[in-house]
Symmetry: C2
Subunit: 485 residues, 2 copies
Amino acid sequence: MCPSLTDGASASTDRSEMVGIENTNVGRPVPTNGVNGHANGHTNGANGHSSSTQRRNPYAPRASEFLNNVANFKIIESTLREGEQFANAFFDTKTKIAIAKALDAFGVEYIELTSPAASEQSRADCEAICKLGLRCKILTHIRCHMDDARIAVETGVDGVDVVIGTSSFLREFSHGKDMTYITKTAIEVINFVKSKGIEVRFSTEDSFRSDLVDLLSIYQTVDKIGVNRVGIADTVGCANPRQVYELVRTLRGVVGCDIEIHLHNDTGMAIANAYTALEAGATHIDTSVLGIGERVGITPLGGLVACLYAADPEYVKSKYNLPMLREIENLVAEAVEVNVPFMNPITGYCAFTHKAGIHAKAILNNPSTYEILKPEDFGLTRYVAIGHRLTGWNAVKSRVEQLNLTLTDEQIKDVTAKIKELADVRTQSLDDVDTILRVYHSGIQSGELAVGQKEALDRLLREHREAATRERGETEQPQVVAAAA
Amino acid sequence: MCPSLTDGASASTDRSEMVGIENTNVGRPVPTNGVNGHANGHTNGANGHSSSTQRRNPYAPRASEFLNNVANFKIIESTLREGEQFANAFFDTKTKIAIAKALDAFGVEYIELTSPAASEQSRADCEAICKLGLRCKILTHIRCHMDDARIAVETGVDGVDVVIGTSSFLREFSHGKDMTYITKTAIEVINFVKSKGIEVRFSTEDSFRSDLVDLLSIYQTVDKIGVNRVGIADTVGCANPRQVYELVRTLRGVVGCDIEIHLHNDTGMAIANAYTALEAGATHIDTSVLGIGERVGITPLGGLVACLYAADPEYVKSKYNLPMLREIENLVAEAVEVNVPFMNPITGYCAFTHKAGIHAKAILNNPSTYEILKPEDFGLTRYVAIGHRLTGWNAVKSRVEQLNLTLTDEQIKDVTAKIKELADVRTQSLDDVDTILRVYHSGIQSGELAVGQKEALDRLLREHREAATRERGETEQPQVVAAAA
């Protein structure tokens, strides 16, 4: 179970407060990704651990699974296609370009854009983005139709996804009868696109509710024609991981080309499904920032990266600019006017917060996520902690001690009242709180301040702020360096 | 791929707007949960579909898996234990009681409370909740220590979870040496609790990073002593579904008692891990409302219920009061001052919204989630749709047509301006918009209103509001009946 509140001091009575803590890896061996020397065919994650063996990362891809692509995949970032279908997405050209550039800087291998055949604006935006000289490849998708193909190939995209109609078409599909038709049109479109030196992908919708034999027939056919990649989709967002594993694994044995997967999140399993698809041999995962898309969207970029990072941190760090994640999520969140969910992996308000009320030490001694998900790898070094209007003086006292300041309990209660007052206006970050504590402390030390002297404290804080502003030479901004969403 | 914006009309140019749609199951056969007549050992979800075969639900538990508990499980709702460890949870007794009652009414089989040994307040709250006469069983957890046990058994709880120290203890565990110690203390505590007629569970922390043999030894021992249930935990929230499956499946072969699992959500896989654990034979899943808990919390109640409902809707509907889900989430969200995430399964702002800009008909024709996740089963019948300040007259026109009102394009543009103006103040729900449209329409029809007559429209809206208020006999509240979070 979780580190419980039974370990030590009174907990829930005193409105347990949060205490900011530094990530201190207290001398534990860092888990490595070395292959488990005991290659015994068992596929569980445990390992023997005499002190001479390097500790294996139990979340790493299993060496026994040679098809496992958990550390060998590419991301097709679809914020500018799937994301456009999000209820509140109204991206103008400027915003699309900003998002495209940010995603490119983050390091995704592909970005996907709304079909240029959808509208004149889509076509213009597509061309504009293709002209940006991005490092990532640019993809779009079209209906299986020569008209769309002709438009798409002129935009400058690197790849085109040919989608086979709707799933109702698939459902009505009977053995053999329409295969000739599919093959004929698909061949024409695929060959045309290929003749332009452009990558071709072929996808179906609602793959998990499609007839398996029909599905495999289609994919086998287009694989023979020579597509670069086939795609499957959980369009209704209800597939479960082992089901995904099996379909991808089956498909893996049928086609030689790459396999892409597009997973909706209606039952909250899109990240896990993506992970499991990679285990089965998929090569490309569709994502969008914060998962935005139709309904509750698809596999979120940040969540996927977090879980793959847990499996192989070095691989993921080498591919993506992890510290940019928060910035990208904020960019998109602002554009679509949502809040980053409080429980978002890594970047959510709570991702690295702990409930105090217990000695900070006890928190450090508990099984720590930090051995796996290191906040500093994502550019996060501080945790939103105290500074809530319900903050109690105990939490403040912990922080005072962490800062090596000397204050009496009475003084701590006094400064806590000030923190709570400011927190009523806006939540104070840990740095805000540290500033208040240091100013208070030095005021006490110098004799300029005593308990209960509110005006004196206000003056000292104001002077400090003005001095800091002059140093920075910019308009006054509250100094906020926190992991708050 | 997803229903794309290529199907028909201009899409992304005109800032595609949302249109509220009713859930209309347009004559498609409802998927059933009947066992696939073709019991062929293949474990994929597809099926042949001649019109004479009833369509099998591809998300249902597989008949070939007799250990599969996806349709045979219990929920241990831990909002009042794990949830208390959420950064911003400060539940007073009144709130705890309200949450306990709500969870009981929802139908969870167990609720778990913070240890009564943690503080006097925890003990008092535990007793208070035990006295409520709830239908669900009440559990708490304690350290493996007689002092805690003595306190717990007097509170009136139905069950006690004995947690074996910390995982650092487990990690230092060497074969055989401390087993005697564990067994001795555990036997004493377990037998003591059992002698009081109280259920006993035995859990470990950080099970996925523990030595497998040690883990299985401990569980085997306590199983022999006679616990009701053993629990495993992904304390760091990084386990993946197939890894979970294997550990649970292995454990399933070792112990005869029930198996509970507690899954953290740091990499966003807690729901999927819970689902997969049930497939492997787990019997009990720990949840909390919105998943609140330490860091980003654990398996969320709503998300888990959504995914298990997709697998077996009748079973889940028979156990839980699904329409209460939204109310419970709002209750807890308010108590901990968070927003229900916009992409929350079922109850999130976006769960049933579609991006319009395309004919509403095209949306209805696309592969629809509604065949699987029916909003009305969760008491949701309307979708937040138009009413955003970027709403275009096209979306309003769609709604006018849906309401069978007759307005010219010029009149529609006129009323759209009013909606946008009101939406600048606050987002208008679909009912707000319907009201505006009906008032506008009847004003036009009666001759009291013409295009451009802003004051007349304001007056009509005001009169309508006052009449509605008098009818309801309450202080004026904007009438909002929407699925908005």
